[in-house]
């Protein structure tokens, strides 16, 4: 499934992700790593700790509705993956981000912005294994 090259929209979108990370650090002193925020919400330390995490996640979930109401143009969401593959993939993602202590946002944005060698290592590795997996699925198995 081909998608359109959208450099400007993607750039605006990701600068917003950067602003979000800055706000969370400035006010709460927290890393905007979605895996960490979600895991800490599922297994909270204290009520106050749960509340800011739940507020962040609720804000994320409200975003599409706000975009629609404010007429903010968003990219179409297309899922070229069958449900069983998603079910397998999400379980693998869950194990990986827990062991690796982070995902695209925590390591790939916040960790790299802190110049963390751990995050740089994690990001290079998961970018590589994602690219290899996509290549194998699309061009070896599916090709």
């Amino acid at each position: 499934m081909a998608t359109t090259f959208t450099p400007y929209a993607s750039l605006i979108g990701v600068v917003l992700i950067g602003f979000s990370a800055i706000i969370l650090m400035l006010f709460l002193g927290r890393i905007a790593g979605v895996t960490g925020i979600l895991a800490g919400m599922l297994l909270p330390g204290s009520p106050a700790d749960w509340l800011w995490r739940a507020a962040f996640i609720a804000g994320m979930i409200a975003a599409p509705t706000i975009a629609t109401m404010a007429n903010i143009p968003t990219q179409p969401i297309q899922v070229p993956v069958e449900a069983p593959a998603i079910a397998v993939g999400c379980a693998i993602v869950g194990v990986g981000v827990t062991l690796g202590a982070g995902c695209t946002s925590g390591h790939g944005v916040c960790g790299l912005a802190r110049l963390s060698a751990r995050s740089l290592t994690a990001t290079l590795i998961f970018m590589a294994t994602t690219a290899i997996t996509v290549y194998v699925i699309r061009h070896i198995v599916g090709g």
Partner: protein, 136 residues
């Protein structure tokens, strides 16, 4: 104040995901499919978000503490260990199969799309199961 800042940060994060195309598995998978239907849009994700955050963090860390918390809660692990390498490798395999990552998927819950509900249910179950096994 903490809650308002957290909701605002969540909304801005979610809007960024929706506007950039990170919410769309088709776009994410095409970013990695250099040999096929390559769409380099999301190269801007890593670059743009990183540069913005890099500069912003520099300014924030000039302060001795956050505006509405007692301290900065930064990761204390610095070791590049087997767990990190294995975890990151596994994450990439799952991301390549499903096309959703946690940050890309959560805003999509707001659209009610069926596929993302499967993803989130499995993601949460796998995070909890892994944590339980780790705690033993």
């Amino acid at each position: 104040m903490q809650i308002i800042a957290a909701i605002l940060a969540g909304i801005i994060f979610g809007l960024g995901i929706m506007i950039s195309g990170m919410a769309s598995p088709a776009k994410v998978l095409n970013f990695f499919d250099i040999a096929g239907t390559w769409d380099p849009s999301l190269a801007f994700v890593m670059g743009g978000a990183l540069i913005t955050t890099l500069i912003g963090y520099r300014l924030v860390f000039l302060r001795s503490q956050p505006l509405s918390a007692d301290k900065f809660y930064l990761p204390t692990h610095s070791a590049i260990d087997t767990k990190l390498i294995v975890g990151a490798s596994i994450f990439g395999i799952g991301w390549g199969i499903a096309g959703f990552c946690p940050g890309g998927a959560i805003p999509v819950i707001g659209t009610g799309m069926f596929e993302v509900l499967i993803f989130m249910a499995g993601l949460i179950a796998a995070i909890l199961a892994t944590r339980l096994l780790q705690a033993r």
